[in-house]
Protein backbone atom coordinates (compact mmCIF):
# COMPACT_ATOMS: atom_id res chain seq x y z
CA UNK A 1 0.00 0.00 0.00
CA UNK A 2 2.57 2.53 1.18
CA UNK A 3 4.87 2.28 -1.73
CA UNK A 4 4.38 5.86 -2.88
CA UNK A 5 5.15 8.76 -0.63
CA UNK A 6 2.60 11.50 -0.39
CA UNK A 7 -0.44 12.77 1.37
CA UNK A 8 -3.45 10.48 1.44
CA UNK A 9 -6.75 10.54 3.32
CA UNK A 10 -7.00 9.19 6.84
CA UNK A 11 -8.22 5.59 7.18
CA UNK A 12 -11.52 6.55 8.75
CA UNK A 13 -14.40 4.09 9.16
CA UNK A 14 -16.36 5.70 6.34
CA UNK A 15 -13.44 5.44 3.96
CA UNK A 16 -12.84 1.81 4.87
CA UNK A 17 -16.50 1.03 4.33
CA UNK A 18 -16.35 2.79 0.99
CA UNK A 19 -13.34 0.74 -0.04
CA UNK A 20 -14.99 -2.48 1.06
CA UNK A 21 -18.09 -1.60 -0.97
CA UNK A 22 -15.94 -0.91 -4.02
CA UNK A 23 -14.12 -4.20 -3.56
CA UNK A 24 -17.42 -6.02 -3.24
CA UNK A 25 -18.91 -4.32 -6.28
CA UNK A 26 -18.00 -6.95 -8.92
CA UNK A 27 -19.26 -9.91 -6.92
CA UNK A 28 -22.46 -8.26 -5.73
CA UNK A 29 -23.44 -6.83 -9.13
CA UNK A 30 -22.86 -10.22 -10.77
CA UNK A 31 -25.09 -11.88 -8.18
CA UNK A 32 -27.71 -9.15 -8.67
CA UNK A 33 -27.64 -9.61 -12.45
CA UNK A 34 -28.19 -13.33 -11.92
CA UNK A 35 -31.25 -12.64 -9.78
CA UNK A 36 -32.63 -10.08 -12.23
CA UNK A 37 -32.28 -12.46 -15.17
CA UNK A 38 -34.08 -15.14 -13.17
CA UNK A 39 -37.13 -12.86 -12.82
CA UNK A 40 -40.00 -13.33 -15.27
CA UNK A 41 -38.87 -10.85 -17.91
CA UNK A 42 -40.50 -12.74 -20.76
CA UNK A 43 -37.33 -12.53 -22.84
CA UNK A 44 -36.82 -15.51 -25.16
CA UNK A 45 -33.71 -17.50 -24.30
CA UNK A 46 -33.58 -16.11 -20.79
CA UNK A 47 -31.91 -19.19 -19.28
CA UNK A 48 -29.12 -18.98 -21.83
CA UNK A 49 -28.84 -15.24 -21.20
CA UNK A 50 -28.46 -15.82 -17.47
CA UNK A 51 -25.68 -18.36 -17.93
CA UNK A 52 -23.75 -16.18 -20.35
CA UNK A 53 -24.09 -13.02 -18.24
CA UNK A 54 -22.55 -14.84 -15.27
CA UNK A 55 -19.70 -16.09 -17.44
CA UNK A 56 -19.05 -12.69 -19.01
CA UNK A 57 -19.00 -10.89 -15.64
CA UNK A 58 -16.70 -13.44 -14.03
CA UNK A 59 -14.37 -13.40 -17.02
CA UNK A 60 -14.24 -9.61 -17.18
CA UNK A 61 -13.56 -9.05 -13.49
CA UNK A 62 -11.08 -11.94 -13.24
CA UNK A 63 -9.18 -10.38 -16.10
CA UNK A 64 -9.21 -6.75 -15.08
CA UNK A 65 -9.67 -6.76 -11.31
CA UNK A 66 -8.88 -10.22 -9.95
CA UNK A 67 -8.48 -8.87 -6.41
CA UNK A 68 -12.22 -8.12 -6.36
CA UNK A 69 -13.18 -11.46 -7.91
CA UNK A 70 -11.37 -14.07 -5.81
CA UNK A 71 -12.03 -17.79 -6.41
CA UNK A 72 -14.31 -18.03 -3.36
CA UNK A 73 -16.62 -15.36 -4.81
CA UNK A 74 -16.59 -17.16 -8.18
CA UNK A 75 -17.56 -20.35 -6.36
CA UNK A 76 -20.46 -18.62 -4.62
CA UNK A 77 -21.70 -17.07 -7.87
CA UNK A 78 -21.54 -20.45 -9.59
CA UNK A 79 -23.49 -22.07 -6.80
CA UNK A 80 -26.15 -19.35 -6.98
CA UNK A 81 -26.40 -19.82 -10.76
CA UNK A 82 -26.76 -23.59 -10.38
CA UNK A 83 -29.46 -23.32 -7.75
CA UNK A 84 -31.37 -20.64 -9.67
CA UNK A 85 -31.14 -22.54 -12.95
CA UNK A 86 -32.11 -25.91 -11.48
CA UNK A 87 -28.99 -27.36 -13.08
CA UNK A 88 -27.08 -30.26 -11.51
CA UNK A 89 -25.19 -28.51 -8.68
CA UNK A 90 -21.50 -28.04 -9.32
CA UNK A 91 -21.60 -27.75 -13.11
CA UNK A 92 -21.91 -23.97 -13.16
CA UNK A 93 -19.41 -23.70 -10.31
CA UNK A 94 -16.83 -25.69 -12.24
CA UNK A 95 -17.26 -23.83 -15.53
CA UNK A 96 -17.02 -20.43 -13.85
CA UNK A 97 -13.93 -21.51 -11.89
CA UNK A 98 -12.26 -22.74 -15.09
CA UNK A 99 -13.09 -19.45 -16.83
CA UNK A 100 -11.67 -17.59 -13.83
CA UNK A 101 -8.48 -19.68 -13.94
CA UNK A 102 -8.07 -19.13 -17.67
CA UNK A 103 -8.56 -15.37 -17.30
CA UNK A 104 -5.91 -15.27 -14.56
CA UNK A 105 -3.52 -17.33 -16.68
CA UNK A 106 -3.96 -15.10 -19.77
CA UNK A 107 -4.03 -11.92 -17.78
CA UNK A 108 -0.48 -10.77 -18.44
CA UNK A 109 -0.94 -11.05 -22.21
CA UNK A 110 -4.57 -10.02 -22.61
CA UNK A 111 -4.67 -6.89 -20.44
CA UNK A 112 -2.22 -5.15 -22.74
CA UNK A 113 -4.14 -6.08 -25.90
CA UNK A 114 -6.96 -4.18 -27.50
CA UNK A 115 -10.61 -4.96 -27.01
CA UNK A 116 -10.91 -7.16 -30.08
CA UNK A 117 -8.45 -9.75 -28.84
CA UNK A 118 -10.07 -9.86 -25.38
CA UNK A 119 -13.40 -10.38 -27.06
CA UNK A 120 -12.01 -13.18 -29.21
CA UNK A 121 -10.57 -14.82 -26.10
CA UNK A 122 -13.95 -14.56 -24.43
CA UNK A 123 -15.70 -16.10 -27.44
CA UNK A 124 -13.30 -19.02 -27.17
CA UNK A 125 -13.96 -19.34 -23.44
CA UNK A 126 -17.74 -19.09 -23.96
CA UNK A 127 -17.79 -21.90 -26.51
CA UNK A 128 -15.39 -24.02 -24.46
CA UNK A 129 -17.39 -23.58 -21.28
CA UNK A 130 -20.70 -24.28 -23.06
CA UNK A 131 -19.13 -27.54 -24.28
CA UNK A 132 -17.94 -28.41 -20.76
CA UNK A 133 -21.36 -27.61 -19.34
CA UNK A 134 -23.08 -29.70 -22.01
CA UNK A 135 -20.76 -32.65 -21.43
CA UNK A 136 -21.07 -32.54 -17.64
CA UNK A 137 -24.85 -32.12 -17.68
CA UNK A 138 -25.12 -35.03 -20.13
CA UNK A 139 -22.92 -37.11 -17.87
CA UNK A 140 -24.81 -36.23 -14.70
CA UNK A 141 -28.25 -36.83 -16.19
CA UNK A 142 -27.12 -40.03 -17.98
CA UNK A 143 -28.37 -39.00 -21.38
CA UNK A 144 -27.05 -37.37 -24.49
CA UNK A 145 -28.49 -33.86 -24.52
CA UNK A 146 -28.97 -31.95 -27.76
CA UNK A 147 -26.00 -29.59 -28.28
CA UNK A 148 -28.19 -26.80 -29.71
CA UNK A 149 -28.89 -24.88 -26.47
CA UNK A 150 -25.19 -24.92 -25.59
CA UNK A 151 -24.20 -23.39 -28.91
CA UNK A 152 -27.00 -20.84 -28.55
CA UNK A 153 -25.79 -19.98 -25.05
CA UNK A 154 -22.22 -19.44 -26.25
CA UNK A 155 -23.42 -17.33 -29.18
CA UNK A 156 -25.52 -15.14 -26.88
CA UNK A 157 -22.50 -14.71 -24.61
CA UNK A 158 -20.30 -13.74 -27.55
CA UNK A 159 -22.84 -11.21 -28.78
CA UNK A 160 -23.51 -9.81 -25.35
CA UNK A 161 -19.91 -9.36 -24.25
CA UNK A 162 -19.11 -6.06 -26.05
CA UNK A 163 -22.15 -4.28 -24.57
CA UNK A 164 -21.58 -5.72 -21.12
CA UNK A 165 -17.84 -4.99 -21.26
CA UNK A 166 -18.52 -1.34 -22.12
CA UNK A 167 -20.67 -0.97 -19.01
CA UNK A 168 -18.28 -2.93 -16.83
CA UNK A 169 -15.27 -0.93 -18.06
CA UNK A 170 -17.03 2.25 -16.92
CA UNK A 171 -17.70 0.67 -13.55
CA UNK A 172 -14.16 -0.67 -13.41
CA UNK A 173 -12.72 2.82 -13.72
CA UNK A 174 -15.14 4.52 -11.35
CA UNK A 175 -17.36 2.53 -9.00
CA UNK A 176 -15.20 -0.52 -8.48
CA UNK A 177 -11.93 1.37 -7.98
CA UNK A 178 -10.93 1.18 -4.29
CA UNK A 179 -8.30 3.90 -4.79
CA UNK A 180 -11.05 6.42 -5.47
CA UNK A 181 -12.66 5.90 -2.09
Amino acid sequence: MDRLPGIRPRQSLGRRLDMAARRGFPGSTTALLLLVTAAPLGVPGQAELQASIALACVFFWSLFRPASMPPAVVFAIGLLADLLGFAPPGVGVLTLLIAHGLALRWRRVLVRQGFLLVWLAFVGVAFGMAAVQWALTSLLTFRLLPPGPGVFQAAIGAGLYPALATLLTRAHQTLAEPERA
Binding site: P40, A72, P89, G90, P149, Q153
Partner: protein
Protein backbone atom coordinates in the same frame (compact mmCIF):
# COMPACT_ATOMS: atom_id res chain seq x y z
CA UNK B 1 -6.10 -13.08 12.77
CA UNK B 2 -3.18 -15.41 12.20
CA UNK B 3 -0.15 -13.67 10.75
CA UNK B 4 1.43 -15.70 7.98
CA UNK B 5 4.68 -15.02 6.18
CA UNK B 6 4.39 -13.75 2.63
CA UNK B 7 5.57 -16.97 0.88
CA UNK B 8 3.04 -19.04 2.86
CA UNK B 9 0.29 -16.62 1.98
CA UNK B 10 1.23 -16.70 -1.69
CA UNK B 11 1.27 -20.51 -1.65
CA UNK B 12 -2.17 -20.55 -0.02
CA UNK B 13 -3.51 -18.10 -2.59
CA UNK B 14 -2.25 -20.37 -5.37
CA UNK B 15 -3.90 -23.36 -3.74
CA UNK B 16 -7.39 -21.80 -3.47
CA UNK B 17 -8.39 -22.32 -7.09
CA UNK B 18 -7.44 -26.03 -7.33
CA UNK B 19 -9.09 -26.71 -3.99
CA UNK B 20 -12.29 -24.97 -5.09
CA UNK B 21 -12.28 -26.85 -8.41
CA UNK B 22 -12.02 -30.07 -6.43
CA UNK B 23 -14.88 -28.81 -4.26
CA UNK B 24 -16.96 -28.25 -7.42
CA UNK B 25 -16.45 -31.91 -8.37
CA UNK B 26 -17.37 -32.84 -4.82
CA UNK B 27 -20.54 -30.77 -5.17
CA UNK B 28 -21.45 -32.64 -8.37
CA UNK B 29 -20.99 -35.99 -6.63
CA UNK B 30 -22.97 -34.78 -3.63
CA UNK B 31 -25.78 -33.55 -5.87
CA UNK B 32 -25.84 -36.92 -7.61
CA UNK B 33 -25.59 -38.97 -4.41
CA UNK B 34 -28.14 -36.98 -2.45
CA UNK B 35 -30.59 -35.51 -4.92
CA UNK B 36 -32.87 -34.61 -2.06
CA UNK B 37 -30.36 -32.23 -0.50
CA UNK B 38 -29.93 -30.40 -3.82
CA UNK B 39 -33.70 -30.20 -4.22
CA UNK B 40 -34.11 -28.80 -0.72
CA UNK B 41 -31.42 -26.19 -1.30
CA UNK B 42 -33.07 -25.14 -4.57
CA UNK B 43 -36.53 -24.92 -3.11
CA UNK B 44 -35.23 -22.99 -0.08
CA UNK B 45 -33.74 -20.42 -2.46
CA UNK B 46 -36.91 -20.43 -4.56
CA UNK B 47 -39.01 -19.93 -1.42
CA UNK B 48 -36.88 -16.98 -0.42
CA UNK B 49 -37.09 -15.40 -3.87
CA UNK B 50 -40.72 -16.20 -4.70
CA UNK B 51 -42.19 -13.16 -2.87
CA UNK B 52 -39.65 -10.87 -4.56
CA UNK B 53 -40.43 -12.33 -7.97
CA UNK B 54 -44.12 -12.05 -7.17
CA UNK B 55 -43.77 -8.32 -6.51
CA UNK B 56 -41.65 -7.89 -9.65
CA UNK B 57 -44.08 -9.81 -11.82
CA UNK B 58 -46.87 -7.24 -11.71
CA UNK B 59 -45.03 -4.20 -13.08
CA UNK B 60 -43.34 -6.45 -15.65
CA UNK B 61 -46.71 -7.81 -16.74
CA UNK B 62 -48.11 -4.30 -17.14
CA UNK B 63 -45.09 -3.23 -19.22
CA UNK B 64 -45.57 -6.28 -21.42
CA UNK B 65 -49.27 -5.45 -21.67
CA UNK B 66 -48.50 -1.95 -22.94
CA UNK B 67 -46.12 -3.35 -25.56
CA UNK B 68 -48.68 -5.93 -26.66
CA UNK B 69 -51.38 -3.25 -26.89
CA UNK B 70 -49.15 -1.11 -29.07
CA UNK B 71 -48.49 -4.06 -31.37
CA UNK B 72 -52.17 -4.93 -31.57
CA UNK B 73 -53.15 -1.41 -32.54
CA UNK B 74 -51.37 -1.84 -35.85
CA UNK B 75 -53.17 -5.06 -36.72
CA UNK B 76 -56.63 -3.95 -35.55
CA UNK B 77 -58.25 -3.89 -38.98
CA UNK B 78 -57.07 -7.28 -40.24
CA UNK B 79 -57.58 -8.82 -36.82
CA UNK B 80 -61.15 -7.56 -36.74
CA UNK B 81 -61.92 -9.08 -40.13
CA UNK B 82 -60.38 -12.39 -39.08
CA UNK B 83 -62.33 -12.43 -35.82
CA UNK B 84 -65.63 -11.70 -37.57
CA UNK B 85 -64.95 -14.58 -39.93
CA UNK B 86 -64.04 -16.89 -37.06
CA UNK B 87 -67.07 -15.79 -35.07
CA UNK B 88 -69.30 -16.75 -37.98
CA UNK B 89 -67.82 -20.25 -38.04
CA UNK B 90 -67.90 -20.64 -34.26
CA UNK B 91 -71.57 -19.65 -34.17
CA UNK B 92 -72.33 -22.55 -36.49
CA UNK B 93 -70.32 -24.86 -34.27
CA UNK B 94 -71.98 -23.55 -31.15
CA UNK B 95 -75.38 -24.77 -32.26
CA UNK B 96 -73.88 -28.17 -33.10
CA UNK B 97 -72.18 -28.30 -29.70
CA UNK B 98 -75.38 -27.38 -27.85
CA UNK B 99 -77.32 -30.06 -29.69
CA UNK B 100 -74.63 -32.65 -28.98
CA UNK B 101 -74.44 -31.60 -25.35
CA UNK B 102 -78.19 -32.06 -24.92
CA UNK B 103 -78.03 -35.43 -26.69
CA UNK B 104 -75.08 -36.48 -24.53
CA UNK B 105 -76.97 -35.53 -21.37
CA UNK B 106 -80.02 -37.60 -22.33
CA UNK B 107 -77.87 -40.58 -23.30
CA UNK B 108 -75.95 -40.40 -20.04
CA UNK B 109 -79.21 -40.15 -18.12
CA UNK B 110 -80.47 -43.29 -19.89
CA UNK B 111 -77.24 -45.18 -19.18
CA UNK B 112 -77.01 -44.34 -15.47
CA UNK B 113 -73.59 -42.89 -16.18
CA UNK B 114 -71.49 -42.13 -13.09
CA UNK B 115 -70.30 -38.56 -13.57
CA UNK B 116 -66.64 -37.76 -13.02
CA UNK B 117 -66.14 -35.91 -9.74
CA UNK B 118 -65.40 -32.23 -10.21
CA UNK B 119 -61.77 -31.77 -9.15
CA UNK B 120 -60.68 -29.09 -6.74
CA UNK B 121 -58.16 -26.59 -7.98
CA UNK B 122 -56.11 -23.60 -6.95
CA UNK B 123 -54.79 -20.87 -9.21
CA UNK B 124 -51.21 -19.75 -8.89
CA UNK B 125 -49.14 -17.06 -10.51
CA UNK B 126 -46.11 -18.04 -12.56
CA UNK B 127 -43.30 -15.99 -11.06
CA UNK B 128 -40.18 -17.23 -12.78
CA UNK B 129 -38.71 -19.49 -15.33
CA UNK B 130 -37.20 -22.41 -13.42
CA UNK B 131 -35.83 -24.24 -16.41
CA UNK B 132 -32.23 -23.45 -17.08
CA UNK B 133 -30.48 -24.29 -20.31
CA UNK B 134 -31.31 -27.99 -20.38
CA UNK B 135 -34.76 -28.08 -18.79
CA UNK B 136 -38.22 -26.59 -19.24
CA UNK B 137 -40.03 -25.66 -16.05
CA UNK B 138 -41.71 -22.73 -14.34
CA UNK B 139 -41.80 -21.58 -10.75
CA UNK B 140 -45.15 -20.78 -9.14
CA UNK B 141 -45.75 -18.64 -6.09
CA UNK B 142 -48.27 -20.56 -3.99
CA UNK B 143 -48.36 -18.71 -0.69
CA UNK B 144 -47.34 -20.02 2.72
CA UNK B 145 -50.42 -22.10 3.61
CA UNK B 146 -51.01 -23.88 0.36
CA UNK B 147 -52.59 -27.27 -0.25
CA UNK B 148 -50.51 -28.07 -3.31
CA UNK B 149 -48.98 -31.53 -3.48
CA UNK B 150 -46.50 -33.15 -5.80
CA UNK B 151 -48.01 -34.69 -8.89
CA UNK B 152 -50.84 -32.16 -9.21
CA UNK B 153 -51.67 -31.27 -12.76
CA UNK B 154 -51.16 -27.76 -14.08
CA UNK B 155 -53.44 -26.38 -16.79
CA UNK B 156 -53.73 -22.94 -18.26
CA UNK B 157 -56.93 -21.67 -19.85
CA UNK B 158 -56.30 -23.68 -23.02
CA UNK B 159 -54.68 -26.97 -22.11
CA UNK B 160 -52.18 -29.10 -20.26
CA UNK B 161 -49.08 -27.34 -18.93
CA UNK B 162 -47.31 -29.98 -16.83
CA UNK B 163 -47.05 -31.47 -13.38
CA UNK B 164 -45.79 -30.25 -10.02
CA UNK B 165 -42.45 -31.93 -9.39
CA UNK B 166 -40.85 -29.91 -6.60
CA UNK B 167 -42.51 -28.22 -3.72
CA UNK B 168 -41.29 -25.64 -1.26
CA UNK B 169 -43.18 -23.83 1.45
CA UNK B 170 -44.08 -20.85 -0.76
CA UNK B 171 -43.22 -22.00 -4.23
CA UNK B 172 -43.79 -24.95 -6.51
CA UNK B 173 -41.94 -26.02 -9.62
CA UNK B 174 -43.95 -27.30 -12.55
CA UNK B 175 -42.17 -29.45 -15.12
CA UNK B 176 -43.58 -28.49 -18.51
CA UNK B 177 -44.71 -31.07 -21.07
CA UNK B 178 -41.88 -29.85 -23.33
CA UNK B 179 -39.13 -30.85 -20.87
CA UNK B 180 -37.04 -33.81 -21.90
CA UNK B 181 -37.95 -35.71 -18.76
CA UNK B 182 -41.66 -35.40 -19.44
CA UNK B 183 -43.54 -38.54 -20.57
CA UNK B 184 -47.30 -38.29 -20.88
CA UNK B 185 -49.71 -41.03 -21.95
CA UNK B 186 -52.07 -39.57 -24.55
CA UNK B 187 -54.91 -40.59 -26.82
CA UNK B 188 -55.29 -39.40 -30.41
CA UNK B 189 -58.83 -38.16 -30.38
CA UNK B 190 -59.77 -39.13 -33.93
CA UNK B 191 -58.55 -42.72 -33.99
CA UNK B 192 -58.63 -43.35 -30.21
CA UNK B 193 -55.10 -44.74 -30.59
CA UNK B 194 -52.78 -44.48 -27.62
CA UNK B 195 -49.34 -42.89 -27.75
CA UNK B 196 -46.70 -41.32 -25.56
CA UNK B 197 -45.92 -37.63 -25.61
CA UNK B 198 -42.19 -37.22 -25.14
CA UNK B 199 -40.67 -33.84 -24.37
CA UNK B 200 -37.53 -32.80 -26.22
CA UNK B 201 -36.77 -29.36 -24.66
CA UNK B 202 -38.01 -27.84 -27.92
CA UNK B 203 -41.26 -25.95 -28.37
CA UNK B 204 -43.13 -29.06 -29.53
CA UNK B 205 -42.97 -32.46 -27.80
CA UNK B 206 -42.87 -35.54 -30.01
CA UNK B 207 -45.37 -38.38 -30.33
CA UNK B 208 -43.92 -41.84 -29.88
CA UNK B 209 -45.02 -45.45 -29.48
CA UNK B 210 -48.42 -45.05 -31.11
CA UNK B 211 -50.51 -48.11 -31.92
CA UNK B 212 -49.20 -49.80 -35.04
CA UNK B 213 -51.09 -49.04 -38.20
CA UNK B 214 -52.78 -45.96 -36.78
CA UNK B 215 -50.62 -43.11 -37.87
CA UNK B 216 -51.37 -39.80 -36.15
CA UNK B 217 -53.13 -37.54 -38.62
CA UNK B 218 -52.06 -33.96 -39.18
CA UNK B 219 -54.25 -31.61 -37.14
CA UNK B 220 -55.68 -34.40 -35.00
CA UNK B 221 -56.51 -33.42 -31.43
CA UNK B 222 -54.46 -35.04 -28.69
CA UNK B 223 -55.85 -35.51 -25.17
CA UNK B 224 -54.47 -37.15 -22.04
CA UNK B 225 -55.13 -40.80 -21.34
CA UNK B 226 -56.03 -42.21 -17.94
CA UNK B 227 -53.52 -44.98 -18.44
CA UNK B 228 -51.07 -45.47 -15.54
CA UNK B 229 -53.46 -43.42 -13.41
CA UNK B 230 -51.27 -40.35 -13.60
CA UNK B 231 -53.66 -38.10 -15.54
CA UNK B 232 -57.42 -38.01 -15.91
CA UNK B 233 -58.69 -38.87 -19.37
CA UNK B 234 -59.51 -36.17 -21.84
CA UNK B 235 -57.48 -33.12 -20.83
CA UNK B 236 -56.63 -31.15 -23.99
CA UNK B 237 -52.93 -31.38 -24.85
CA UNK B 238 -52.65 -30.05 -28.39
CA UNK B 239 -52.81 -30.90 -32.07
CA UNK B 240 -50.63 -33.17 -34.19
CA UNK B 241 -48.21 -31.47 -36.52
CA UNK B 242 -45.69 -33.17 -38.81
CA UNK B 243 -42.21 -31.72 -39.14
CA UNK B 244 -40.49 -31.42 -42.49
CA UNK B 245 -38.65 -34.67 -41.72
CA UNK B 246 -42.02 -36.38 -41.17
CA UNK B 247 -41.83 -36.74 -37.39
CA UNK B 248 -45.18 -36.31 -35.64
CA UNK B 249 -45.05 -33.58 -33.01
CA UNK B 250 -47.73 -31.98 -30.90
CA UNK B 251 -48.35 -28.26 -30.97
CA UNK B 252 -49.30 -27.63 -27.31
CA UNK B 253 -52.69 -26.06 -26.75
CA UNK B 254 -51.37 -24.26 -23.68
CA UNK B 255 -49.39 -21.09 -24.28
CA UNK B 256 -46.21 -22.43 -22.70
CA UNK B 257 -44.03 -19.52 -23.76
CA UNK B 258 -46.18 -16.94 -22.00
CA UNK B 259 -47.66 -18.53 -18.93
CA UNK B 260 -48.98 -16.06 -16.38
CA UNK B 261 -51.48 -17.91 -14.23
CA UNK B 262 -51.98 -21.66 -14.09
CA UNK B 263 -54.55 -23.78 -12.30
CA UNK B 264 -53.32 -26.72 -10.24
CA UNK B 265 -55.87 -29.52 -10.22
CA UNK B 266 -56.01 -32.22 -7.61
CA UNK B 267 -57.53 -35.25 -9.29
CA UNK B 268 -56.44 -37.46 -6.41
CA UNK B 269 -54.44 -39.64 -8.78
CA UNK B 270 -51.46 -41.36 -7.22
CA UNK B 271 -50.58 -43.74 -10.05
CA UNK B 272 -47.14 -42.38 -10.77
CA UNK B 273 -45.89 -40.49 -7.78
CA UNK B 274 -43.04 -38.07 -8.44
CA UNK B 275 -40.03 -38.58 -6.19
CA UNK B 276 -41.12 -37.80 -2.67
CA UNK B 277 -39.16 -36.69 0.32
CA UNK B 278 -39.98 -39.77 2.39
CA UNK B 279 -37.65 -42.73 2.06
CA UNK B 280 -40.61 -45.11 2.12
CA UNK B 281 -41.93 -43.79 -1.14
CA UNK B 282 -38.54 -43.75 -2.75
CA UNK B 283 -38.11 -47.40 -1.89
CA UNK B 284 -41.12 -48.26 -4.05
CA UNK B 285 -39.22 -48.14 -7.28
CA UNK B 286 -37.06 -46.09 -9.61
CA UNK B 287 -38.51 -42.89 -10.97
CA UNK B 288 -38.07 -41.40 -14.38
CA UNK B 289 -39.22 -37.97 -13.42
CA UNK B 290 -36.90 -35.72 -11.54
Amino acid sequence: MIRLSIPVRQALAKLTLPVLIAAAFGLMLLGKADALLAERARMALADALAPIFGVLAEPLASVRGVIDDAEETFSLYSENARLRDENERLRAWESVALALDAENATLKANLHWIPDPAPGYVSARVVADAGGVYARAVLLSVGPNHSVTKGQIALDERGLVGRVTELGSRSARVLLITDMNSRIPVILEGSRARAMLVGSNGARPRLMYWTEGQLPAEGEHVVTSAEANAFPAGLPVGTVHYTSSNVPEVEPAARLDRLEVVRLFDYGLRGVVPPESQGSLRAQGPERRR
